[in-house]
């Protein structure tokens, strides 16, 4: 299951993670985000141990959304070694999403 990432655990879970972290910026009122949900869950199961998967609710975590200049949701970002290493905006199929994020 994807982790719920907040401003409190962001540093520990994302920036200090030894493995790449995939973050889904989403909100419950956004239909494309809701449709992306199961795909993100699937990735978290299939890539367990290889990629850490987390979700950031932009409604509750406005500071993080602002910090990473999230302008459209869903936005999926990848962090490697504590730094953003890829970003995709919009609903995509799992294969396309992973490919465009270079995973």
């Amino acid at each position: 299951m994807p982790l719920t990432i907040t401003n409190q655990n962001f540093k520990k879970e994302v920036l200090e993670s030894p493995i790449p972290v995939l973050i889904d910026f989403w909100a419950p009122w956004c239909r494309p985000c809701v449709m992306l949900g199961p795909i993100i869950e699937q990735i978290s199961v299939e890539q367990e141990g290889k990629i850490k998967v987390g979700k950031i609710n932009v409604d509750e975590e406005g500071i993080l959304a602002q910090e990473f200049r999230i302008t459209s949701i869903p936005t999926v970002m990848v962090f490697k070694g504590g730094k953003p290493a890829g970003q995709v905006v919009g609903l995509l199929r799992k294969e396309d999403l992973l490919k465009r994020l270079g995973l």
Partner: protein, 285 residues
Amino acid sequence: MHDVIVVGGGPAGITAAVYLKRFKLDVVVLMKDYGTLAKTDHIENYYGFAEPITGTKLVENGILQAKNMGIPVLEEEVLGIDCFDTFTVKTTKAQHSARAVLLATGAARSSLKVKGFKEFDGKGISYCAVCDGFLYRGKTIGVVGAGEFMLEEMEVLRQFAKEVVVFTNGEPLQVEVHDASVVTEKLVSIDGKETVESVSTAKANYRIDALFVAAGTPSASDFALRMGAFLNKNDIAVDETFMTNIPGLFAAGDCIGGFYQIAKAVSDGAHASVAINRYLRNLKA
């Protein structure tokens, strides 16, 4: 509650409606205009017409054919579609509900031809006010459009924005706009560092934090995008039964891409109708 709402009254939509009616389903067709076919004067390659026929005549015949079978064909522009178990289709005139929807609106329109448009796509340019409006609380939001679709999006954006600026991009404003400034000059460029910061016309520069696109009338891919359906570029992605990834939402004709021909659209419509019939029967079972 209808069984099926068909959005679009061209060859794909009408063919599907005719078949659906013959399957004894309650179907209604919503259409806004004659679409691409109205621009075609000579159709010589469609089966069964010994003499060339105009696109307009062909569409007229199709509508008449559907109406003669007792299918309501309503001239209503669809503004939005919601799906929660069933579908609610909001038009310029009314609200309709159905258990399945077929999108057959024709090809998606081209995107804005303005410098910077591609560059800032997803970086301040958005197509979905419901999704992204919230991210611009207290900010200045531009919205591109001149008609009902723009007004729909603007009403959503108003809940979040400090200020909304309407850009008609050279089109005459077709609706009344209150409490927002309106710029009617053509847009020349979209500018910013990482994200959108301003747009320019030949005359002036306007500071905005985001630009929402709601120009013209919404295309099938606009509905699909808002509902969370997969797209292939601008085409709606469907499976072999013409269903999208959203159960009950089907698409046929030019809006799913492929061969832009009447014969193909008619074929799509027929195939989709069979799948919709099966889908609805399974729902009941």
